[in-house]
């Protein structure tokens, strides 16, 4: 499973999320905010090849709009640095937080 886990690590690193050590017998991994270390989710190691990068890219707008990612804003800021135009468009598309 290490090739898939490496793929998952690389995909999440682009948006400032760190894949932690295995949480359950090598099958599931915590996702940690690269900014503050808080847990932001989890992922398993049976994703299909190529799937992790696709999923993270598909979620770019959600990170940009603050609908996904840590409350500290690290993923939102990372998304802005990655693609400012897409970031601006995403934030215009999603309703503002109350």
């Amino acid at each position: 499973m290490s090739a898939i886990v490496d793929e998952i690590r690389r995909a999440y690193a682009t948006v400032g999320i760190t894949v932690d050590q295995p949480a359950a017998y090598g099958t599931y991994y915590r996702l940690l905010c690269g900014g503050c270390g808080r847990m932001v989710g989890n992922v398993g190691d049976r994703l299909l090849p190529g799937m992790a990068a696709e999923l993270v890219d598909a979620q770019f707008d959600l990170y940009a709009a603050g609908l996904l990612g840590c409350g500290c804003g690290h993923q939102r800021d990372r998304a802005r640095a990655l693609d400012p135009a897409r970031w601006t468009a995403a934030r215009a598309r999603y309703p503002e937080a109350p």
Partner: protein, 286 residues
């Protein structure tokens, strides 16, 4: 205990579970109760006419192909006390609830869910021991990618329960008529519990979709969960499907059960104000 009542050791374990279950339940648990109030929520799957009427119980000698197919099905099911990967997965559910749940009530509901899944782990463990003690202790991580999709928000977790637990409910509905008697006997309990778990996810989605921002998030995440949920039924042209049907381990093929599941899910999505995605988009196992 009152004088003249049963001795403690005479009370069946699962009766004790039911008894404590009448106290201290969170948030209207069990959530299947409302779903069944108007009758059977899930469709019956009619087997093909003229199928041989096999029936095997725990101590019966099983034909080789039958045994292999039954074990294959139980490997996918996964909920066994001797399957450490299943127990690990349960741990991740608590971990997620601690990190992402919006309220104490939501965490308590999630704990009710875990309690019922652990009850299933006892039931399937005993079924597995009766079938093959080696298998009962085998570590079998969930193989399907749907169990491994990232969950980064409570809405992800809600979709997981609404869609993935519902997959289990549809299969358990079909097991009511299974040719393997121990599985048929426990099917109604597993089915109704899994319907309740799906309803838990749906309740969370109703709360999330109550405002525009939450609905926008759910609509975006649906593109991740919907194809995975449909893929869980396997390929429509699976060569094993007719064998399962012939032996009475399933009533219908993958395409038919997926179609019924999709009809049920789509109606619930529309009620949430979400548009069901194109059923072929992002699918891996057509």
């Amino acid at each position: 205990m009152t004088a003249g009542g049963p001795a403690p050791n005479d009370v069946p374990d699962l009766d004790v579970v039911d008894d404590v279950g009448r106290r201290g339940r969170a948030g209207g648990w069990p959530l299947w109760r409302q779903a069944y109030a108007q009758g059977d929520p899930l469709p019956r799957f009619a087997p093909p006419p003229g199928r041989p009427a096999y029936r095997f119980d725990e101590d019966d000698a099983l034909p080789g192909e039958y045994r292999d197919l039954l074990l294959k099905m139980l490997r996918h099911e996964g909920e066994r006390a001797g399957n450490k990967s299943f127990l690990g997965f349960m741990g991740t559910c608590l971990d997620l609830a601690e990190a992402l749940s919006p309220s104490l009530e939501a965490r308590l509901l999630k704990a009710e869910y875990l309690a019922e899944e652990l009850k299933h782990a006892i039931m399937f463990h005993r079924l597995a021991v009766g079938l093959d003690p080696d298998f009962a202790l085998r570590d079998v991580p969930y193989a399907h990618y749907a169990f491994h999709l990232p969950r980064e928000t409570w809405a992800d977790d809600a979709f997981f329960h609404f869609l993935v637990d519902l997959n289990g409910a549809f299969h358990a509905r079909d097991w009511r008529e299974s040719s393997y008697v121990p599985l048929a006997k426990m099917s109604a309990t597993v089915e109704r519990d899994e319907v309740g778990h799906s309803e838990m996810g749906y309740r969370f989605l109703q709360e999330i979709c109550a405002d525009a921002r939450g609905r926008a998030l759910a609509a975006a995440l649906l593109a991740k969960w919907y194809p995975a949920a449909l893929d869980m039924f396997g390929r429509s042209d699976s060569p094993n499907a007719p064998k399962f049907v012939r032996w009475g381990l399933k009533s219908v093929g993958n395409a038919e059960i997926r179609k019924a599941y999709k009809r049920y899910v789509d109606a619930k999505l529309v009620a949430l104000g979400l548009e069901p995605p194109d059923e072929r988009r992002h699918r891996r196992f057509l």
